[in-house]
Structure formats: C-alpha cells, structure tokens
C-alpha cells in the first residue's frame, strides 16, 4: 500500500500531539477534583467540580486509550482512523464544558490531532468504518455509557436502574455472539426500566428508543450488523467476482 508522505507526516504529528493532550487532560481532571472549589473561576464556575473532574479524567482516559491504539500496528489504517478521530475529538470538545480553562491546552491538542488525522482520511475509510458491524455495536455501548452517566446523576431507584441497565445493555452486546434471542431480551430489559422511571427527562426515553432501534436489528442474526451474520457471511461461498472468469 502506498501511503502518501503527507499522510505519514500528519499522522506522525497527530501521534505526538494526542498523547500529550490526553495526559494533560488527565492531569487537568485531577487538578479539578483536588482544588476545583478553590479555583472556581478557572474551572468555568462549576459547582460540582469533583464530579466534573472525574468526568474529565474518564473522558481523557478514552483519549489515552485511543493514542495507545493509534500507535499499535494497523491502528492508523482503515476504519480505525474514524474511531481515533472520535475518541480524540469528543473528549476534546466536551471537556471545555467540564473544567473550563484548565482544559484549554488539552482541548487544543486533542482537537488538533483529530483534525490532522481527519485531513488525510479517505472517504472509503470512513465509509468502511461505518459499514463495519462493530460500529453499530459500538453505538449501543455508547448509549449504554449514557445510561451510566445519567444514572449516576440520578437518585434512588433511577440510579440503580441506570447503572444496572447499562451493564445489561453491554451484556446484551456480548451475548449476541451466542444467542440473538438472549441478546435482544437483555437489550429490552436493560433499556426500558431507566427510561420508564425517568420518562420526564426526555433524554432517557430518547436513548432507550435508539438502543432498541439500533440494537434489535443489529443483534438480529440475519442482519449485517449482527455477530452471527458476520459468521454466516464468512461461511458463504466466494462471490462471483472473486471467481476466475473463463
């Protein structure tokens, strides 16, 4: 595969910016947790600096993980490029609202790195990433993460339903490798209680709707997004265009 020199250069630059930004982000989160109340004007006048500090650490950890994956063999090609872009850009953008000015250096570095990667990512790679079955399962897991976040912000039974619901949703994705029926049952059991308990919140019913709308077809054995479907595709005889033409 011929990789243009420009792409190599930009990828290398992104590979240097991203780890620095991610580690600085973790440090900024630690500072927010430790002394946030004393520097409220720096952390965006947020009241709950502890929770937001931990959120910053968690989001920065995603960026750290992405930089590790980026450095591994094959980590910078194909659909993984889109994953890296998102794993750097989302924390990079969101954390501006969690710890204010403390995030400025990290945010600039992470967003810069994601832009460098995006600049040389081809449409084919983007399309390939979206077509990958893992993408839909990834979306379900992301929605499960929303449940953890919002459940953690809730109280009483809603908190339990949110956190446990997220665990059950993730279990559904794993269970899909063995039983589509079990996976879909887990998906419904995980998604509905929290949404019902907090129906007035708008966001949890919306998330539940998406979990079911994306998850039920994706975990269906005959759909491209399903793990079993992948297996079925693998067993399929080679398609005509792969056969020698007489």
């Amino acid at each position: 595969m011929n990789v243009p020199a420009r792409r190599l250069t930009l990828d290398r630059a992104a590979g240097r910016l991203a780890p620095v930004g991610a580690v600085l982000g973790v440090l900024a989160g630690i500072v927010g947790v430790a002394v946030g109340p004393s520097i409220r004007n720096v952390v965006g006048n947020k009241l709950d600096t502890t929770t937001l500090g931990f959120a910053t650490i968690a989001l920065s950890a995603i960026a750290v993980a992405a930089t590790f994956a980026w450095g591994r063999p094959g980590g910078s090609i194909g659909g993984r490029r889109l994953g890296t872009i998102l794993a750097l850009a989302l924390p990079g953008a969101v954390c501006f609202t969690t710890i204010g000015q403390l995030w400025y250096p990290s945010g600039v570095l992470l967003l810069g790195a994601s832009i460098l990667i995006a600049a040389t990512t081809t449409r084919t790679e983007l399309a390939g990433a979206i077509d990958e079955p893992r993408w839909l399962r990834g979306l379900i897991v992301v929605l499960g993460c929303y449940y953890v976040f919002l459940g953690g912000d809730s109280h009483g039974s809603a908190r339990v339903a949110g956190v446990l619901g997220a665990a059950v949703i993730c279990a559904a994705v794993l269970a899909a490798r063995h039983s589509a029926r079990l996976a879909r049952t887990l998906l419904v059991v995980g998604a509905l209680p929290f949404a019902v308990l907090t129906w007035w919140s708008v966001v949890t019913p919306l998330a539940a709707l998406l979990i079911l709308a994306i998850g039920l077809p994706a975990l269906h054995p005959n759909r491209p997004g399903a793990p079993r479907a992948e297996a079925a595709t693998d067993k399929r005889p080679a398609l005509p265009d792969a056969q020698p033409v007489h």
Partner: protein, 426 residues
C-alpha cells in the same frame, strides 16, 4: 465491496449461474440492474447508519445538557439542603434553621440573623429587595414576618420561651425584630411540623370549594395578632372579578419596563447559579408538569419578554381560573412596617395550616405591586383604587393576597432553593 459488483462476463448463461443461487440480490433487470439496486441499498444502509450515529451524538448532547441543568437533580444539592436538615441543629440556630424556610417574596430571603445564646435579632437585608416590584418594601417586611413566625414556632420544640419585640430600635426599621430567649418546657405547636411541608403552589387547583369550617379555622389564626384580619372571597362572580384584576395587574407590571426587569432579576435559569446563589425563582418551583419543566431546562434561557408573557398567561390560567377562594390579609395601615410584620406572621400561619390540611396556597400580589408602583410614580391609582374597593369598606387596607384550593397534582410541592443558616447569620 463484493455485494455491489456485477459479474464480469458476457455470457448470459454464465451470468445467471453465478448470480442466481448465491448473490443476495436478484433482479432480472438489464445488465446494470443489480448494480443499481445494490448501490441504492448500500447507500440507504450507510445513510441509516450515519443518521443513527448522528442521533446518538445528539442524544449525548441532550444528556449532557440535562446533566448540566440538573434535570436529574430536582430538589437536590446544597441549595436544597436546608429543607432536609431544618431540625438537625441545636440551640438558637435551630430556630434560625426553621425561620429560613419561611415564605418570602420572590424567594429573595431578605433576612440577616444575629444570634447569641439568649437573643436573636432579625434584620432586613435591603440589598435583596425586588426593586420596583416592591418599591416601599411591603412584601419584604411581610416575608420577615413569616420568618419571625417560623422562628417562634420552633422555639417551643427546642425548649425555649420567647419574648418578641418588633422594630426594637426606633428610627431603624432595618432592625425588624428582637427575640429574647429563655429556657422553657418543650412544646410542639401543631403548625411547627408543617414547616418543611409548606411550599408555594403555583399549579392548577381542583374545582372544589374550600369548606367554610376551614376558612373559619384559618381566620381564627389571627386571634392573637393585633390589627390583622383575613377576608375571604369565595363567590364565583367575586372570584372572577378579582382574578381578572390580578391578570390586568400582571399585564401592567410586565408593561412597566423597570418592574419587568426587577422581577426577572430574581429568576434563576442556570443550575449552577441556583446551587451557588441558593435563592430566587426557579423552573422547578413554577409548578409545571415534569415533562414541561424538563423541556424548559433543556432549552436556552428564555428572554424577559417570554418570561413576562408566561407569567401573565399563567396568572390567568391556571392560577386565577382554578382559585377555589382568595384570601386577603388586611391591616389598618399597609405602609406601617409593624403591621406588615404582623400580617406576615398571619400569612405564614395560614400557609402552614393549609400544608397540614391538604390544601395548597399561592401568593397573588400583582394588584398591590401595581398599586405601590403607581404611588411611587405618582400615576393614576388604577389598582390603588381597586385595592381600596376590595377591603377598605371594612376599615382596613389590603396587605397581601393569596389563592387557595385543593391541589390537582403534586407538581406544586417542589422545593425552592434556600441559603443555609451559615450564610444568613452574622
């Protein structure tokens, strides 16, 4: 992408053999038929996945906004802690902890307490006035009267006897009251238990009359408060008239720019501001249905004009429309701070009584707010005359008014933020 390719052959027989049994798309169309069909499917599939991804991102944004605006934190956090810990303190501070839960105008909490083992002094914090909405501090002193009542109610349960002196320092109305404390037997007045249950209910009430016995019981609460009276307006025609007057006053208030600005200054839209300032009017306390309340938090802060329109409309319906009765607290001189403080004490007693008897109460002071503003501006006393017509025939003046009724939902019971005792004592 194997599925999108067309067999590369010119032999129709071969083409049929290779495509029929295995290829997922079967279209007998022309030579380019399958390719178009599959491409369209592929395009739609990718579009659906991209659309789903976009919706997941949008949901994440909405979720963060919900977190940032405290959608899942209704009634939680430091701003609401005073409601839960109100009877956890000991000594004179226990009395202050009860006092700060009192009704007060726009939740300004315009009070400062100076506490010593034998005495509590209450001062008006004039920096917390509502400006042109309360130009002569009528409501401020009524709110201080409410706080005094809670404080005295909390004395008995904490083993104190009290001696109250209103406006103890001549010529210094800022010094609203002095309460001397001495040890006494533990007593629990009936109204004391309702202190944490009292909330201003701005929601619709049931169309069910308030029993005459209940009205009499509330009127009797004024027995030991000199110069205070309670007048009821219960007839449908009279309720309709005073309701229309209140709506007109609300409209006039919003058309007065200064009153509108000063009114909106105490509205807290931002969750961080609520938790930091612990005062003011909030979306939660407006008594909106839960879903509407959430939507109001998720959208950006609304404009002053929007808030004004909402308030006028809300005054008309449901507040005026569903008022089972109106109560008017009257005093000989509504400009007299002493009378205002006593009127405030009566108002708090009534409010606590309703909380203990399944009734809801909402404050309706649009008419007097406009009357005082007219007086301040030297304008034609349109609403000033109206207040006189309401109660002056009985030889007194209207101090404050409220509506009362049985609640239709529990939406009016949400907490309002409160500054803790540590922030209001000197």
């Amino acid at each position: 992408m194997a599925l999108t390719r067309t067999p590369v052959t010119t032999d129709p027989q071969q083409a049929a053999e290779v495509s029929a049994p295995e290829a997922p798309i079967e279209t007998p169309a022309g030579p380019n038929g399958p390719s178009h069909e599959v491409s369209r499917r592929s395009f739609l599939h990718r579009g659906a996945v991209a659309g789903g991804t976009a919706l997941v991102v949008v949901t994440g944004g909405v979720g963060y906004r919900a977190y940032d605006e405290g959608v899942f934190q209704v009634g939680q956090g430091g701003a609401y802690e005073a409601w839960r810990s109100w009877n956890q303190q000991r000594g004179p501070m226990a009395l202050v902890a009860a006092a700060i839960l009192a009704a007060n105008p726009h939740n300004t909490q315009a009070w400062i307490f100076r506490v010593s083992p034998q005495r509590i002094d209450l001062f008006a914090d004039r920096s917390r006035n509502i400006g042109a909405v309360d130009p002569f501090r009528r409501e401020m002193y009524v709110g201080l009267g409410c706080a005094i009542e809670n404080l005295i109610l909390a004395a008995g349960p904490n083993g104190y006897q009290t001696k109250l002196t209103l406006l103890p320092t001549p010529g210094q109305p800022v010094h609203a009251a002095a309460i001397e404390l001495s040890r006494g037997p533990v007593r629990r007045p009936e109204l004391y238990a309702q202190i944490p249950n009292r909330h201003t209910d701005r929601t619709a009430y049931q169309l069910r009359p308030v029993p005459t016995a209940a009205q009499r019981a509330m009127s009797a609460l004024a027995a030991d408060l000199p110069d205070t009276g309670l007048h009821w307006i219960t007839g449908a025609t009279e309720r309709g008239q005073i309701g229309a007057l209140m709506v007109a006053a609300a409209q006039a208030l919003t058309e007065d720019r200064q009153q509108s600005v000063d009114d909106n200054r105490w509205f807290r839209h931002d969750w961080d501001a609520i938790q930091r300032l612990k005062d003011g009017l909030t979306i939660d306390a407006q008594g909106l249905p839960a879903l509407t309340s959430t939507l109001a938090k998720l959208i950006p802060a609304t404009s002053r004009q929007y808030n004004d329109n909402f308030w006028v409309n809300h005054t008309r319906d449901p507040q005026a429309r569903t008022a089972a009765a109106y109560g008017i607290i009257s005093v000989p001189d509504a400009q007299n701070d002493h009378h205002r403080l006593n009127g405030g004490r009566l108002l708090e007693r009534i409010h606590l009584w309703t909380a203990g008897h399944g009734l809801s109460l909402g404050h309706m002071n649009q008419i007097t707010e406009r009357a005082d503003r007219e007086r301040q501006l030297g304008a034609t006393p349109t609403f000033g005359n109206a207040t006189r017509e309401l109660v002056t025939a009985r030889g007194t003046e209207q101090l404050v008014a409220f509506r009362i009724g049985y609640p239709a939902t529990g939406d009016g019971r949400r907490l309002s933020p409160r500054r803790p005792t540590t922030e209001v004592t000197r």
